[in-house]
């Protein structure tokens, strides 16, 4: 990896990691009487290890490879492995969290292992650790291939990837030691948020610079999806995390907004994190890897572009549907409902487009578990976007909100759509990236597919049942007008579903472990295979469809 960096690039890497060490030391000293001090040491350790890795190879031989004839894939490879590492850690945490709900003794009476601390480790770990790393890695791959150009430099991709992982480590460790600003999916405190802004701006600039170097006149639609993911997440993140630190020597900060204002900003962020983190980026993956793997162009490319602009213009308005029947003005809630229902059109356009692409290639779907991952992802995308629009309608929300139905909905999207398309993309990408003929074990891919699918179905059905049971019990009145069931009654009713949920999650987690093992074995055991052409080329876009007579 290091041998591909030139001397000036190694020097720059040393400078950046050295600055990171100093920042970590400053945080550790200033925050010595606060949990922030612990984060200082973590930053110091993270940057220190990277510093020594770079320093060790500083005077090694310069790379001899000609950069113009190859893509830069080292950060992509590391990103895929990091994504799988986070998947195993965070899904394992998820199984533990789910088990705590069924058997509360599994907390083992420690402060750090309480539900409120390990749940965000699960959510941030899967969304940012697994999803984020997978998005960064696949975007590096796709931006270069579809632009037929190499990335402009070799330091900024590493900065983005490793800087983002530093953010993830600071976030997850912070939750365990009790640092949180209590905003869903935006729990990290002010210094982590500031750091993520820097990383994200570099990511955006890197993407634009790569596109500017392209040797292909057309910007493929997947790039539009990735760009909207980067740009919108940056804006959402900055606005939602506006806060005043209580002191610069401590982690605690206070949000710039209060009460229902804060709730509105939070869900404007929260739902658009679902939209632009968990949807558009992964649609970019779908629109590249699905046609690639199926060996056929997307069914309607025109529709893919239309649904992109539809999502961009509709999604941003739907956040208020999280705040039905609250102090939020009625018209703002109604606005959210309207856009939520409209959103079904571009969402189903994408899901239908993906399935129609496979129409005529069903034998490939039958034989190839990788393609089946992508097909099932498209089906779950269609299902969960329909469910989402449905649940946003106010009377439905009256039943579903605050119940496990919401949890089931999120997981049908997160496990069925996001994780399935990611695993499919990883299986499609790994042999290409490491120049291998195929995955180490196709049987393991099959096992993973069926474990993931059955895990998702068990999980989602358990939560639908539990959520609707819970919602109905809460609203059942006796003849005298009092509530029929106590809260504990609902807990007893939900217990069997919680066991089923933990079991479904366990199956899904087992599949992720198999995936990690299979990828590592592919890298270590499968012989090198000089693959088809995979280097920057000129485009045929400007040529006439029929060659001139010779």
């Amino acid at each position: 990896m290091m041998s591909n960096l030139t001397s000036p690039e190694r020097a720059r890497a040393m400078l950046i990691t050295g600055a990171g060490v100093l920042i970590g030391l400053t945080m550790a000293v200033l925050g010595r009487n606060d949990p922030m001090g612990a984060h200082g040491w973590i930053v110091l350790l993270f940057c220190g290890v990277l510093f020594f890795i770079v320093a060790d190879k500083l005077y090694d031989a310069e790379p001899v490879e000609d950069r113009s004839i190859s893509y830069y894939d080292d950060p992509t490879k590391v990103g895929i492995l990091l994504a799988l590492f986070w998947a195993v850690v965070a899904m394992g945490m998820g199984v533990w969290v789910a088990s705590q709900l069924a058997w509360p003794d599994l907390r083992f009476d420690a402060a750090w292992s309480s539900f409120g601390r390990i749940r965000p480790v699960h959510t941030s770990g899967v969304i940012f650790g697994f999803g984020g790393n997978a998005l960064i890695a696949t975007s590096y791959h796709i931006m270069q291939r579809t632009s037929r150009a190499r990335m402009p430099d070799q330091v900024s991709p590493w900065f983005v990837l490793l800087g983002f992982n530093l953010f993830c480590v600071v976030a997850a460790s912070g939750y365990l030691i009790g640092i949180t600003q209590s905003k869903e999916y935006a729990e990290p405190e002010w210094y982590a948020d500031l750091w993520l802004v820097i990383v994200w701006v570099v990511y955006f600039v890197l993407y634009i610079r790569t596109l500017a170097r392209r040797n292909e006149p057309h910007i493929y639609v997947a790039n539009w999806y990735y760009l909207s993911f980067i740009l919108v997440v940056a804006i959402l993140h900055i606005v939602n995390n506006l806060a005043v630190p209580a002191s610069f020597t401590g982690a605690k900060s206070y949000s710039a907004f209060a009460g229902v204002q804060d709730a509105m900003v939070q869900w404007w962020y929260g739902h658009n994190a679902v939209a632009f983190f968990l949807t558009t980026g992964f649609l970019g993956m779908l629109y590249y890897f699905l046609p690639k793997r199926a060996g056929r162009p997307i069914y309607s490319y025109r529709l893919s572009i239309l649904s992109f602009w539809g999502i961009v213009f509709f999604y941003i308005w739907v956040g208020s549907h999280h705040l039905h029947y609250t102090a939020l003005p009625q018209w703002v809630q109604t606005l959210g409902v309207t856009f939520s229902v409209m959103l079904l059109v571009p969402s189903w356009a994408s899901a239908g487009n993906a399935l129609m692409t496979l129409n005529g290639a069903w034998h490939k779907v039958r034989d190839d578990a990788t393609l089946r991952f992508m097909m099932v992802a498209a089906v779950f995308y269609g299902l969960s976007t329909f469910e989402g629009s449905f649940m946003a309608i106010r009377p439905v929300n009256a039943l579903s909100h605050y119940t496990d139905w919401t949890v089931g909905h999120v997981h049908s999207g997160a496990m069925g759509w996001v994780a399935m398309i990611t695993f499919g993309s990883i299986y499609a990408l790994t042999p290409v990236l490491w120049r291998r003929e195929a995955m180490y074990s196709w049987k393991a891919v099959e096992w993973h597919f069926w474990l993931a699918l059955s895990g998702t179905v068990i999980y989602v059905f358990a939560m639908w049942n539990s959520g609707i049971t819970q919602g109905l019990m809460w609203r059942t009145y006796t003849e005298s007008g009092t509530l029929r069931f106590s809260f504990v009654d609902t807990l007893i009713a939900m217990h069997p579903y919680y066991i089923a949920r933990a079991f479904g999650g366990l199956l899904f987690f087992a599949g992720a472990c198999i995936c990690f093992w299979n990828v590592v074995m592919t890298i270590r055991r499968v012989p090198h295979h000089a693959s088809a052409i995979d280097y920057p080329t000129t485009s045929e876009a400007m040529e006439p469809a029929v060659p001139a007579a010779e």
Partner: protein, 65 residues
């Protein structure tokens, strides 16, 4: 609901940025050959970049069996 005085202009601003980018893509002929654009990501038999082709032909000779 003073927050709406922030959120609605920010959101409209983001929509306006999106609209500008859309018009840019329209004017820079991004949508002239949609079926060709969709198929070109599948093609591997392209030629290397002119600057690099000479170098590449050397390396392929070396690795050829």
């Amino acid at each position: 609901m003073t927050i709406l005085a922030f959120l609605i202009p920010i959101t409209l601003g983001m929509g306006a940025v999106g609209l500008c980018v859309f018009f840019w893509s329209l004017r820079s002929n991004q949508y002239d050959d949609l079926s060709g654009d969709a198929e070109r990501i599948l093609f591997d038999e392209d030629r290397p970049l002119p600057a690099a082709s000479a170098r590449l032909s050397n390396t392929t000779k070396e690795t050829a069996p």
